[in-house]
Subunit: 415 residues, 2 copies
C-alpha cells in the first residue's frame, strides 16, 4: 500500500490510513506501507534548500545535502503512522531507506534504486509487524541518503513490491485512472483496467495519477498495480454507480474488454519554438538539437518544412514551459554557425493526446482525431505519433474543447 | 562548535553560523559542528507525536517511533548548514547519528551514548572537510534511531569532542555564564571561568545555559568547554566593557581568581508538599518516598520536624511543579498504611541557591545567606545543602528580591 502526501496531510488523515492498513491486515494479508511526506512539507524543505543555495550556480553541487534535508519529510510520516498503528493495537515499525536498506545510485535528487534487500523487512513482516516505509529515498553504497526525485514514493512502493514479490496498491486522492480529466469532462469514466504501456503514455503525456518511472518499473518487474482512493473508510458502501475497486494496471493480455482508445491526456506545460529561414543542408538539425541536449533541455515534438518561397526551411519544436527561455538563448547562441533568420517562442499552446494499444491493430484513429478537431474549429500546429498514441499541439485556449471532442469521438463516455 | 535552536532558527542565522565556522577554519583549525533543530521545529514534531498517541497510556510504547520523527529536525539543520558552507566555498558534509555512528542505548527518548567511533569523521576532517553533525541523536546497536532527550545536542557535542580529543565551544543566545540571570539582576557579571562542579550545580539548580548531562560528560572526559554567543559576527569588535571570549568551564585548579561564591541560581519549577500528623516511627519515610520513586517522581528537598503538641511529626518535601498533583495522589494512596492526618500542596514557591567551590574551605557562607535574606524580610521555608551549594525554598513572590540580595551579599557585582 502506498499513500501520497495529501493522504497523510494531517493526523486525522494518518488515522484513516491506519484504519485502511488495519482492514487489509484483518483480511489476513501481510502489509508493507510506503508513505510520502505530509502534503506541503516537501515544499517547505525544498524552499529552505533553495535559500541555503542548493542550486547556486558555479559552486560545488550540494545535491547530496539537498537529499539529507528533503528525505526527512518521509521519515516523519513513517514514524507517525507506525505510532498510530500501534495505538490501534496493530504491531508496526517504521523503516527508513538506510534501514532496509534500499540501495540507490549516487545521482542525488534523482537517484535510481539499484537493489533492495528484503530480508530484514520480510522477517519483520513474517513476525506479524506492519512495515511502514519512508518513500522517496534510498541509501548509496557509501552510506549517504539519496532521494529518487519528485513523486519518487510511487517508485519506492513499486520497487518494494517487486522485492517482496507482491502487488502494489497506490492510494491517492482520486479513485482510479479515468478516460480523461474529470475536471474537464464530467462524462469521464473510470477504467477498470489499463495496460502498463497505456498508463506509461498517459503519465508522460500529462495525466498526474502515477509517476512515469514507477509504471516503467512495474512493467519491467511485472508488479500488478492498482490505483485507488485513500478517502474511503474501510467497509464504507460505494455510492450509486461507484465502486471502491480502483483501476488495475496490468499486462495487455489481462484486459478482456478491448477498446481502441483508452484515454485522452493533455498538458499545458508546453512551449513551441519556431525557427525561420534555416539553410537547407545537412548538419543544421544536429547542431541545434545537440546544443539543446548538452544543456539538458528536453525536446518533445519536432517538425520541419520547406519554406514556400526560398531555398530555406522552417522548423518548429516543443519544450517544457520553464525551459522555453533557455532554449531560445541556446538557439540564438548557435545562430552564427547555423545562420537562420528568426526565432519565435509561443507558450500559449497545449498538447492533447489520445492513447490506446488498440491503435496497433486499428487504422483510422488519426483520421477520427483530425476530423473531430476540425469539426470544432481547432487548428493543429504540430503532430507527433507513436505506436499507441497520437499527440497534437494546439492553441491553449482550445484545450478543454479538444479534450471533450476527442472523448466523445472515441466513445469513451460509453464505456 | 555547537549551535542551539535559536542560533539556527532561520536561513539568515544559519549563514551567520557558517561565517563563524569559516572563521575558525581560516584560523587553521579543523572543525566539527553539532547543530540542533531549527527553533520551534522540535516542538512541532513533538506535538505531532502527541497527536499520534506517542504517550497514549496502556498501549505499546512508541518511544522508538517518537525518535524517528523527532530526530529529523536536526538532520534538516545539518543538511542546510553543510549546503551553506559549501556555497561559501568551504568543503563540508553532514553526518547523522547513524552515519558516524554514535552508538546509543535503546532508552528511546532519553538514550545515553555508549560509544562513538571517530574513524570516519576524523578521516573526513583530515581530508579538509568541516563535519556538520546532527545533534540529539544516535543509533542503537540494532540500527534504530535513538534521541538523547531535550537539550541532548549539548551532550552530542561534548561526546563528539571527547571522541575527537578536542575542546567544545557551545554557541548560544547568551555570551557566557553569568553570576546570575541578567534579566533579574542587571549587575550580573559574566564569569571568565567556572569549574565543572559549579557549572553542574548551576545547571541543575535552574541556570538554563547548559544541559546537566553535557557538563557531567565534559567533567568525566575532561573536555574543555566554552560557552559563547552565536550572535556575533566573526571579526566584530566587542563593545565597551565586553569581550567575545565567553566563559570557560574547566577544572577547579585551572581557575586562578578564587572566590567563595560563583553564582546565584533560581528555579520557579518547584512545588512543596506538606504532610501533617505523621506517626513518629520507623518505616514511614521509606513507605512514602518508596511509592514516589516507584512512580518516577523526583523528590528534591526534604525536611522533617516534630509537631509541637503531639507525638507526631510533620514533613515537607519538594517536587517539580508538573509532578505535584501526581505526588499528592501517590501520598494519598499510602495514607491508609502510613496514617498521616493531612496533606497540602503549595506551588507558589521558588528555590534560590548560591553555588561556589569556595564553600569547601570557607565557613560562614550559610550565615551570610540567611542574614541577607532576613534583612529583606524573606522567610525561608526549607533549606538544603551540599558541599558546594546552599538552596532555600521561599515564597515565589520574593524570588527576584532574594536573587538580588544574595548577588550583592557575596559581592558578585564586584567581580
Amino acid at each position: 500500500m502506498k499513500f501520497g502526501g495529501t493522504s497523510v496531510a494531517d493526523l486525522e488523515r494518518i488515522r484513516r490510513v491506519a484504519r485502511l492498513v488495519n482492514a487489509e491486515r484483518e483480511a489476513g494479508r501481510q502489509v508493507a506501507v510506503v508513505v510520502s511526506a505530509m502534503s506541503g512539507k516537501t515544499n517547505e524543505l525544498v524552499a529552505w534548500t533553495d535559500g541555503a543555495g542548493a542550486a547556486a550556480p558555479g559552486l560545488t553541487p550540494s545535491d547530496d545535502e539537498y537529499d539529507v534535508v528533503v528525505a526527512s519529510g518521509e521519515q516523519v510520516t513513517a514514524g507517525l503512522l507506525a505510532m498510530t498503528l500501534r495505538n490501534m493495537g496493530v504491531p508496526a515499525r517504521s523503516w527508513t531507506g538506510w534501514q532496509i536498506p534500499i540501495i540507490a545510485d549516487d545521482a542525488h535528487g534523482r537517484a535510481r534504486i539499484d537493489e533492495i534487500d528484503p530480508t530484514k523487512l520480510g522477517a519483520a513482516m513474517d513476525g506479524g509487524e506492519v512495515a511502514v516505509i519512508a518513500g522517496f529515498q534510498g541509501v548509496t553504497r557509501d552510506g549517504r541518503i539519496a532521494t529518487l526525485g519528485r513523486g519518487g514514493s510511487d517508485t519506492s512502493a513499486v520497487a518494494i513490491a517487486a522485492a517482496l514479490g507482491c502487488g502494489c496498491d497506490i492510494y491517492t486522492d482520486v479513485d482510479g485512472v479515468y478516460t480523461t480529466d474529470p475536471r474537464i469532462e464530467s462524462k469521464a469514466r473510470k477504467l477498470a483496467r489499463i495496460s502498463y504501456e497505456e498508463m506509461l503514455e498517459m503519465a508522460s503525456l500529462g495525466a498526474k495519477v502515477l509517476q512515469t518511472r514507477s509504471v516503467e518499473l512495474a512493467m519491467a518487474y511485472n508488479v500488478p498495480l492498482r490505483v485507488l482512493s485513500s478517502f474511503v473508510e474501510p467497509g464504507e458502501a460505494p455510492g450509486p454507480g461507484e465502486d471502491h475497486l480502483g483501476t488495475i494496471v496490468c499486462d495487455e493480455e489481462e484486459i478482456v474488454e478491448k477498446r481502441i482508445v483508452s484515454g485522452v491526456a493533455y498538458s499545458r506545460d508546453e512551449a513551441k519554438i519556431s525557427l525561420f529561414g534555416l539553410p537547407d543542408h545537412p548538419g543544421v538539425s544536429s547542431t541545434i538539437f545537440g546544443a539543446l541536449a548538452d544543456a539538458n533541455v528536453n525536446v518533445d515534438m519536432i517538425v520541419q518544412s520547406k519554406a514556400r518561397t526560398a531555398d530555406t526551411a522552417n522548423m518548429e519544436f516543443t519544450v517544457g514551459k520553464r525551459d522555453a527561455q533557455r532554449a531560445v538563448e541556446i538557439v540564438r547562441s548557435v545562430q552564427p554557425t547555423v545562420g537562420f533568420e528568426d526565432v519565435q517562442v509561443n507558450d500559449d499552446v497545449a498538447k492533447v493526446s489520445v492513447i490506446g494499444v488498440g491503435m496497433r491493430s486499428h487504422t483510422g484513429v488519426a483520421k477520427s482525431m483530425f476530423e473531430a478537431l476540425a469539426s470544432k474549429g481547432v487548428n493543429i500546429q504540430v503532430i507527433s505519433t507513436s505506436e499507441i498514441k497520437i499527440s497534437v499541439l494546439i492553441d491553449a485556449a482550445y484545450t478543454e474543447l479538444a479534450v471533450r471532442a476527442l472523448h466523445a469521438a472515441y466513445g469513451l463516455d460509453q464505456l
